[in-house]
């Protein structure tokens, strides 16, 4: 179950999951990477047998699979079961990667190459002429799961949204059985979109659209964005962070300690209320003390993260 010590501080209504229809925005800095929080939610949702759609704009599938193994979830089997979808937003996202297509192996030969080294297990890409082709995983057979979908370059972010919409609808429709499943859409790193040349306005629009889309499917949106204080000087970067925060229900701000590095405390987590939360609170939809705003310290271990109140690190006590 993710990180137990963090779990007690998160919204408790749907524990260990987030309340559906909400948007959690995670911001981090370079000194303290917030990626570990994503692993928490991925493993929680997978263990609860809910749908996860992960868009890897900075990380690759292998990374999430290996870390998932450390946290006790098997993402490979989750993929074959169809509850975990990985979308590759790294290899073909920019126009620079466009000529890749002519070299991509045909799907028929992909299976031959599927057992290579530990360093770069073949997370193979599927070329497509249009936006993104949906490759359905083979139904629960022993065959290896189909390669992840790829977000390929398009000058308009709308196309990216359409691709994601298709994937989410696909995932949700598959899961609509007797028990309605929750869904979580995780965007690995929103700052990448900004860095790759899309204007801040468009990225924010994408976030808003995705939030509404996910809410339709009883889901939750989680995004990660870099919010170094240094970059607040840049208008677009600052605008992105503020804009994303404005959309959010919950905010987790990860940053290093003000006093510098420490061996026992890697950084601090600020659990904050977003405007969405306050709106719902006013409407009386939020239980008392559902998400107390507070600041915690954390320390990352090999396969766990310890979250504790300020000053309660093992180095102190």
């Amino acid at each position: 179950m993710g990180y137990p010590s963090l779990e007690s501080h998160l919204p408790s209504t749907h524990a260990p999951l987030l309340p559906p229809g909400t948007f959690l925005s995670i911001s981090d800095t370079q000194a303290s990477d917030g990626n570990f929080l994503l692993h928490h939610f991925i493993s929680n949702y997978i263990k609860a047998d809910q749908n996860v759609v992960l868009v890897g704009l900075a990380g690759i599938l292998v990374h999430y699979t290996i870390v998932g193994r450390k946290l006790g979830v098997n993402l490979a089997t989750a993929r074959t079961k169809g509850i975990f979808q990985f979308v590759d937003g790294l290899t073909q996202l920019t126009d620079y990667a466009a000529p890749n297509k002519e070299y991509i192996a045909k799907p028929a030969e992909l299976k031959l190459t599927s057992t290579t080294s530990t360093a770069t297990p073949p997370t193979l890409t599927v070329g497509s002429t249009g936006v993104t082709r949906i490759a359905r995983p083979a139904a629960a057979a022993a065959a290896p799961p189909a390669p992840p979908k790829v977000l390929s370059y398009s000058p308009k972010l709308v196309d990216l949204y359409r691709a994601l919409e298709e994937i989410i609808q696909d995932t949700a429709s598959k899961a609509s059985g007797p028990s309605k499943k929750q869904l979580v859409l995780i965007l690995d790193d929103l700052s990448v979109l900004l860095n790759c040349g899309w204007p801040c306005r468009d990225v924010l629009a994408l976030v808003r659209y995705l939030k509404l889309l996910v809410a339709k499917f009883n889901g939750t949106l989680i995004t990660l964005v870099h919010a170094d204080g240094l970059m607040a000087e840049e208008v677009s970067q600052d605008g992105l962070v503020k804009g994303v925060f404005y959309e959010a229900d919950y905010i987790i701000d990860v940053r290093g300690l003000d006093s510098g590095g420490s061996r026992d405390v890697h950084g601090q987590l600020s659990l904050l209320h977003g405007p969405g939360y306050l709106l719902r609170q006013r409407a009386g939809q939020v239980k008392e003390n559902e998400w107390p705003a507070l600041t915690l310290h954390y320390k990352i271990l090999d396969n766990n993260v310890e979250v504790f109140a300020k000053g309660y690190s093992s180095g102190v006590l």
Partner: protein
């Protein structure tokens, strides 16, 4: 011969040449050519990652690191892709360093001499020689001094190390090589992970011949693109109209061209696992044997984003890095990129000396790379930190270390330099506590005559021990000297109560003279006014004079006074301060000679 045999893991055999597995997360690592940098990165640079080196000003240590990386690639038989705009890539390859002791290999192996000589190593040799010449007793003394003499209870601790040594080279493989010079090819397992290089020599012509390099001159590329404006522009049309700052249409997209070349090299060399040279052909069955013959593609980019790199839009470099990362993640390749970061950012940022401040532009680049380090050489520094730390050539800042396939970067577990817990006295139990990704230690680098090394940065003891001893007064304030002082102070009181003029040296001596003068006052119980002058003259003296005296700056002044007063408790009420000095002379003088 012991019956124990070193077990060679079978996985090791299937690794590409010159690689090793990370002890922490099983990542395939290649060496950067600098053992200490490998240590910082957690054993080596993981295959499939990008290391960004922010260059130093006015010196070229950044390029030196790049050269190490490429040279190590040539040793391992890797493919080297060199991209450069300012300097021709050919010149970079030609100026690579040689391998340490390549020429006189045989003799050294026979002698068993370790050829990693540093200055201090040489010095030690010299000292030994001198000692043996002067006689056995002297040598004994010398060796006694070489040993730790601070306290007996520290002698059980391991030797303090500020740096990381390379593993001793596999002598056996070298003997083989030297014995049969006709066949230079080593088996992959014999290629050292990190060879030892010698900055005083150049790469041999033979090594240069056998090196598998691809040179991309971005300056040339730019000219070509400009001359024959190609079809690229048409495909870019749509993009430039999509809202981002569109520059003139006739500007070539240099970064795209460079990336295309790199991609082509990766694909043609078969380094990519996803992109095949010939998609229609069946993929070759990858096995352990095929992997052992595999090589790594090392991409070295010199001074990217320098003024000679023209970009079409401000986002070119970001897109380039993002695409390169996507390419490398699925390839047997790694990249080291140097960037003149000091060209970006505001004035105060450029002059900042702490590692935290970089410009937003560079900061965003760091997000797109897996590891980022910054070199700050003292030669190019605006501050005069160099005078304080003459043993180093500059500071080495680690901004980001690769964290792949794990929650925490492997360097927090394995690195000695970043975080002493990994190998220090704490032991394995302690190492579980890890460290922050930024590291705890400050790092500096030295360029010795033959090699580049990163070490933990310490300031030397202020002034140095010897200096302090010579500048201060002999601490043996016996009664005879006291009486002499009395005399001198007596003359001074009569002649001149305000001796704050003159040179530094003089001022210092005056101070030293005037301080004991108070002793004289006390014994003769002179009028209080001169005593007052004495007290006031100490803060009135110039700072340097205070320093030369070794006087404590401010707060300890009170301690001196209190020490005096307690010492002279039996003395008169009025001359409490001065009178105390008589009894507290020992205290006082010891503080002076500190």
């Amino acid at each position: 011969m012991s019956s124990f045999k070193k077990r060679v893991p079978s996985a090791q055999a299937s690794l590409p040449a010159g690689c090793r597995l990370s002890a922490y997360n099983g990542q395939v690592l290649i060496s950067t050519g600098v053992p200490s940098l490998d240590d910082i990165l957690g054993g080596g640079l993981p295959v499939g990652t990008i290391l960004l080196i922010q260059e130093d000003r006015q010196t070229s240590y950044g390029q030196l690191l790049l050269k190490y990386f490429l040279r190590q690639g040539i040793v391992a038989g890797d493919k080297c892709v060199v991209v450069s705009g300012d300097e021709s890539p050919e010149a970079i390859v030609r100026s690579l360093m040689g391998i340490a002791g390549e020429e006189s290999l045989e003799s050294q192996v026979q002698q068993g001499v370790d050829n990693r000589d540093d200055e201090d190593e040489e010095r030690r040799q010299r000292r030994k020689k001198a000692a043996s010449a002067s006689g056995g007793a002297a040598e004994d003394e010398d060796s006694e001094q070489d040993r730790l003499t601070i306290a007996w209870r520290y002698s059980g601790l391991k030797k303090f190390e500020s740096g990381v040594e390379a593993r001793p080279p596999a002598i056996s493989s070298r003997v083989n090589k030297a014995g049969s010079t006709t066949e230079p090819a080593l088996t992959p397992s014999q290629i050292p992970f990190c060879e030892q290089f010698d900055l005083t020599t150049r790469i041999s012509a033979k090594a240069l011949e056998s090196a598998d390099t691809t040179l991309i001159d971005s300056g040339e590329l730019q000219k070509n693109v400009q001359a024959g404006d190609s079809d690229l522009e048409d495909s870019d049309d749509e993009f430039s109209s999509s809202g981002s700052a569109s520059v003139g249409r006739n500007q070539p997209d240099l970064y795209r061209n460079v990336l295309d070349k790199i991609r082509e090299t990766l694909i043609q060399g078969g380094f990519s696992t996803t992109l095949l040279k010939d998609p229609s052909a069946p993929a070759p069955a990858p096995g352990a044997a095929g992997l052992a013959e595999r090589h790594i593609c090392r991409i070295g980019i010199n001074s990217i984003a320098s003024p000679s790199w023209r970009s079409k839009t401000p986002h070119d470099l970001y897109k380039f890095l993002h695409a390169l990362r996507g390419l490398l993640r699925f390839s047997f390749g790694a990249a080291v990129i140097t960037i003149p970061a000091h060209l970006y950012g505001t004035i105060d940022q450029r002059h900042a000396t702490d590692g935290s401040t970089t410009s937003p532009y560079i900061h965003r680049l760091e997000q797109l790379c897996d590891a980022s380090v910054r070199i700050e050489s003292f030669a190019g520094a605006q501050t005069n930190a160099s005078s304080a730390a003459s043993a180093y050539h500059g500071l080495f800042h680690v901004h980001k270390v690769p964290v792949l396939n794990a929650l925490i970067p492997s360097s927090t577990k394995l690195s000695v330099l970043l975080d002493g817990a990994a190998k220090g006295s704490g032991g394995p139990g302690q190492s579980g506590s890890g460290g922050s990704s930024k590291g705890v230690n400050n790092l500096g680098f030295k360029v010795r005559r033959k090699r580049f090394a990163i070490e933990t940065f310490h300031l030397p003891p202020e002034g140095g021990v010897g200096q302090r001893r010579t500048s201060a007064e002999p601490s043996s304030s016996s009664s005879s000297s006291l009486s002499e002082r009395k005399k001198s102070s007596g003359t001074k009181t009569s002649s001149n109560p305000g001796p704050a003029t003159g040179s530094f040296k003089k001022a210092g001596s005056e101070e030293e003279g005037s301080r004991p003068r108070s002793l004289g006052m006390s014994s003769t119980s002179n009028n209080r006014s001169t005593g007052q002058v004495d007290v006031h003259s100490v803060p009135g003296a110039s700072g340097i004079a205070r320093k030369m005296m070794g006087l404590p700056p401010k707060g300890i002044q009170g301690a001196v006074a209190s020490g005096c007063s307690t010492g002279g408790s039996g003395d008169g009420h009025k001359h409490n301060h001065a009178g105390g000095a008589g009894g507290g002379a020992g205290v006082n003088s010891s503080l002076l000679d500190f």
